[in-house]
């Protein structure tokens, strides 16, 4: 069900080193508008490093990243966020002291136009904005079915729900590109099914392009339109789930042989 769209994000010949360690070497791929794109590979293959390059936490020494036709150099994370790239983290990075609602509200931070003073004093535009954003946030909360935990401090929520709140915070920014770093890690089957449903409906109903890292091959093959495989920081293969499943190199390096 690949829907060929324009290239939203182009990664070209990216190399990233930490001192002498090569985290990524000459990696290139394109993410198209409207697709679900999966990055897979063994531990330490450079998957998270790749996401961190895309959203500006890391700056690759070589190569270019083009987003919406604009090539960029040394982008900072908040600039990436401002351009429409949201993300979640492998280890949940929520604001633990805040409630679900407040966490999701932070996702709207960049959409707020009122000046600092207006916001601080909660006057005029500041107040109107807060109300408008609150409506948008409630939509996201409804969408992800977390109404019942709106006022709960997220530190108290079970792991699966925390992951969902993190997704809600990312969606509140109305991103064009959503980066999910192992959205289903550590979840039970039921939670995984819920998360899959939300990822799919985000993609179908909101039209958000999604790039995700995931280890559960069943999930990856079901969800994704296209897959790229990394190994030791290099690109091993790229293609549709079926192509990847049949790729001998990928089977050797990562998927393993099925004995049946």
């Amino acid at each position: 069900m690949t829907r060929p769209g324009n290239i939203l994000l182009g990664v070209k010949d990216i190399s990233l080193r930490f001192g002498g360690v090569r985290a990524l070497t000459d990696v290139s791929f394109d993410i198209h508008e409207g697709e679900i794109f999966a990055i897979i590979g063994p531990n330490g293959a450079g998957k998270s490093s790749m996401l961190n390059c895309i959203n500006g936490f890391y700056h690759p020494q070589e190569g270019t990243i083009t987003f919406r036709g604009q090539q960029r150099r040394r982008m900072r994370p908040y600039e990436a966020a401002a351009q429409g790239i949201s993300r979640t983290f492998q280890n949940i990075a929520l604001f633990r002291g805040m409630t679900t609602l407040e966490n999701v509200m932070t996702g709207r931070m960049l959409k707020m136009q009122a000046s600092f003073v207006e916001q601080a004093l909660y006057l005029g535009r500041g107040k109107r904005e807060e109300v408008a954003h609150r409506e948008k946030v409630e939509e996201v909360i409804d969408f992800l079915e977390i109404q019942s935990i709106r006022k709960t401090p997220v530190g108290r929520l079970p792991y699966g729900l925390q992951k969902r709140v993190e997704l809600a915070r990312a969606l509140a920014a109305e991103p064009e590109l959503l980066l999910l770093d192992e959205p289903m890690a550590g979840m039970n089957v039921e939670e995984k099914e819920d998360m899959c449903r939300f990822v799919l409906s985000t993609n179908h109903e909101l039209g958000t392009t999604i790039a995700l890292i995931e280890h559960d091959m069943g999930v990856v093959m079901d969800l994704s339109d296209r897959v790229v495989v990394l190994d030791y920081g290099k690109k091993l293969a790229e293609g549709t789930p079926d192509e990847i499943r049949g790729n001998q190199e990928v089977i050797d390096a990562y998927l393993g042989v099925s004995h049946d």
Binding site: N55, F57, R76, P77, Y78, A81, A82, S86, R87, F89, A93, L94, F95, R96, G97, M98, E102, M105, T106, G107, M109, L110, M112, F116, Q119, A120, L121, Y122, G126, E130, R169, A170, A173
Partner: protein, 316 residues
Amino acid sequence: METLYLIFIDPFVQMAIEPAFLAEVLIGGLMSGVMYSLVALGFVLIFKASGIFNFAQGVFVLFAALNFVGLMDLGVHPILAFIITLGIMTALAFAVDRLVLRPLVNQNPIILFMATIGIAFFLEGFGESIWGGDVRPVRVGIPDTALFWETGFGEILVLSSDLFAGVIAAFLVTVLALFFHFTPVGRALRAVADDHQAALSVGIPLNNIWVIVWAVAGFVALVAGIMWGAKLGVQFALSTIALKALPVLILGGFTSIPGAIIGGLIVGAGEKLFENYWGLPLLGGATEEWFAYIVAMIFLFFRPQGLFGEKIIERV
């Protein structure tokens, strides 16, 4: 036997006999505790948002008070002087961010801490070279009369300036609490305090936030400086007194705003009670200087995260 009696029984007998005096001691203690809270609040704000222990916070209090008093002595109206000083403290926040914090970003916390010691010494010297080293009284029209409060168990003496300071501090704390909980900027500040990386990913620019936090800390320092200056006059000893905020922080927890406030009240009331009921009869007084530090040390043994601080749990 005699000593044990003096330690464990006599003080409470005294309290029961003269409840009015007890109330006076308690009120006086709570009022000076409010002052400690104000200084501690400045520490907590900066520590929460940037993980930096700002040794210069005490000098901030002094520096703000010096500027305020200096301007007033030049004939500037108190309200205008307040606004100008606020501007100076904001400019100071900017300067600290650009000249000290940014070049040192990603360095060890100890290095940043050393840098704040540097800021402290610089400001102290800078303040003295501009405004001189004399003790200056603050006359902002805070009434300083003794009020007598008739109660069922006797007359209680309260200084109106103490009362005034208490009200101002309570007001300030309320405003800050509202600011942190109900405004987008406050939410951004709390977000940064919780998780730097996540804050960056939702698009909060850390640098701007740091400037805001340092400016808010400067504002708190200014209020504390004026209140304290009104009580003791603006003098260089202020920066030393402000270090009393340290035991307050250990008591309340370095990351908790309510902790800073309650810690301040406990230290203030505790040291006055100890001085009057135990210190004077047993040790001949002057216990106020060190009482808070002993309490802090005991806390470090048994509850190092403080009353309200985040539990220190390390997964192995």
